[in-house]
Subunit: 342 residues, 2 copies
């Protein structure tokens, strides 16, 4: 394995000169630069990033902590993040953690182990105490979720997300606009300020705004999973108790897909018997039958904007900010317009 020394020797210069051309410093003569470049090219030399990172104290690496089971929704965002990071000359180190794991802890460890310049948290909770958050001492941004319950000072964290509550409210309103009155909800956990909870609140708000009663028996919860199979399982079990609703709001596309299978297996037609709406806008939901009506998150922008915000903080041109991105309703064929009758 070639080192900078070998290159220096081969080019007949000192290691510092090689280092200078490696780092595109201006203070090198054209002649030296050319010679060094030639040798590097010739020998197929690639600098040892580990050593560079060590001496620079900080690396050019950004950590990405992804929480929860594999949600197809994240895939696009992850790609957007990686591309954006790559374009800016940073490396991405990804770490997946379990639904119940502590992402701040994981971030703190990773930050030190890998000497990260910054961290992007994808899909987490947001109810941290400031002290907990303080364990992460590099810039970070929450992607696709935010601290909407307000336990944190807005100057203390960054986030790029949609407004989950509004999104849910909008989605449910689509159902109501189509004449639905008995609207069930398929959610995950309800007991903290998770995305599930926020979207559930949006559901409640939409009902309230239209003077529709909130019927607890129509709120189905997977407990803490967004997984398609759990959505299916819970929906199937719930249908044995009640199917007294004409529409279903699922807090995530993936969950909607699971629920739709359960509905069909229960003999219900979509949207004939039950209309379905969800939030996220994952690719595949545009290809299922009936095409899922959903409120799309701007996946690409969530990723690129997160990177932009993070790099802004890292490179000292930019401060903490909470960015809220707009959603767009994608009309599918999973909502049936009900005939008006009171």
């Amino acid at each position: 394995m070639l080192t900078i020394k070998d290159i220096a020797r081969l080019a007949g210069v000192s290691v510092s000169t090689v280092s200078r051309v490696l780092n595109e410093r201006p203070d090198v003569s054209e002649e030296s630069r050319r010679r060094v470049r030639a040798v590097i090219e010739e020998e197929n030399y690639i600098p040892n990033n580990t050593a560079r990172d060590l001496v620079r104290i900080r690396s050019e690496a950004i950590g990405l902590i992804v929480r929860g089971e594999q949600n197809p929704f994240y895939t696009d965002i992850i790609h957007a993040i990686e591309r954006a990071l790559d374009r800016a000359g940073y490396t991405m180190v990804m770490r997946q953690i379990g639904f119940a794991d502590d992402e701040i802890g994981a971030g703190a460890v990773m930050q030190r182990e890998k000497r990260l310049r910054g961290i992007i948290f994808l899909g987490g909770r947001s109810n941290y105490a400031p002290e907990e958050l303080a364990r992460v001492t590099v810039p970070f941004v929450f992607c696709a979720y935010t601290n909407s319950c307000g336990t944190l000072d807005p100057t203390a964290y960054s986030s790029v997300s949609i407004c989950d509550e509004d999104a849910a409210c909008t989605a449910v309103n689509e159902l109501i606009r189509s004449g639905h009155r008995c609207i069930a909800a398929l959610i995950a956990d309800t007991d903290d300020s998770s995305i599930s909870q926020l979207r559930y609140q949006g559901y409640c708000r939409a009902l309230a705004e239209h003077d529709l009663p909130l019927r607890p028996e129509l709120v189905f919860s997977t407990g803490d999973s967004f997984a398609i199979e759990d959505a299916y399982r819970v929906m199937a079990a719930s249908l044995k108790r009640t199917d007294d609703f004409t529409a279903l709001f699922a807090i995530a596309d993936d969950m909607a897909l699971g629920a739709m299978r359960a509905l069909r297996e229960h003999g219900l037609d979509i949207p004939g018997d039950v209309s379905v709406v969800a939030i996220d806008g994952i690719t595949v939901s545009e290809y299922v039958h009936p095409m899922l009506s959903t409120l799309c998150q701007p996946k690409e922008e969530l990723g690129t904007k997160s990177v932009e915000l993070l790099l802004g903080m890292i490179e000292g041109r930019g401060a903490h900010a909470q960015v809220t991105l707009p959603t767009t309703f994608r009309a599918g064929a999973s909502i049936r317009k009900l005939a008006k009758r009171s």
Copy 2:
């Protein structure tokens, strides 16, 4: 930021002693070990991996190079790989590359930059020349594909995959067993030894074995993409030319889903008018309607076995091997049994 020196000072020992307890060496007195551990705990010290990796020359990192657009099929495998690596005490560094990019080159760069111990290639081509492959000097394994065209010496590479040709043949046979005679195929590229090509060969073989003619006008190709949207687009365009088939074999689940939408939009019922079968067994295809009949790849095993093989080579207990894993047919509802006539 605390360093090993600080810990040594605080614990009243030398850095070597700290290093020894960090690396769980046996030659440390219980007394020292206890004291050092206490200080580490107390100070929340986390060793600098960069420095460790530098001095160890080689890191504890394994590279994962994922080629091609985000295929949901990969997600599960990636997770399986990460979990297995984590369990064995290795870190994963992932890098996505474009469909047309050179994964061996990417691997070679990454290997040097990150001082990788090994590399797993996910979803690549397999028609490299031995000289190209030689650029990667750490152990590596091809995951989910193999060098079936045989340009490589079996002692020169490792792979964990299914037999793509057999899988395709089996899938198409399911169609034939159900009485189908006019079977279209939706494929990607055909001009190299890609997975698409192998599966296409399986399709051809199944037809040949049953004396069915290969009708080129029923072979639809996306060119080089496995993306759902391209499958949809190509299928929709093809249907304008011909719909003279009773069954469709798609080389990937995701492509099947795209095709199914096109078929429906063309007014065809699945499986009433057209039966569909595919290969991969991604999660969501179990939830679409009709449930997709498909030949499942053992995703979890593909990942864990790849890691096992790789670590075997890295840790010196194990040599190159080509592992072929079995597929299992998952009967959905997308195949219609044709009445026997002729």
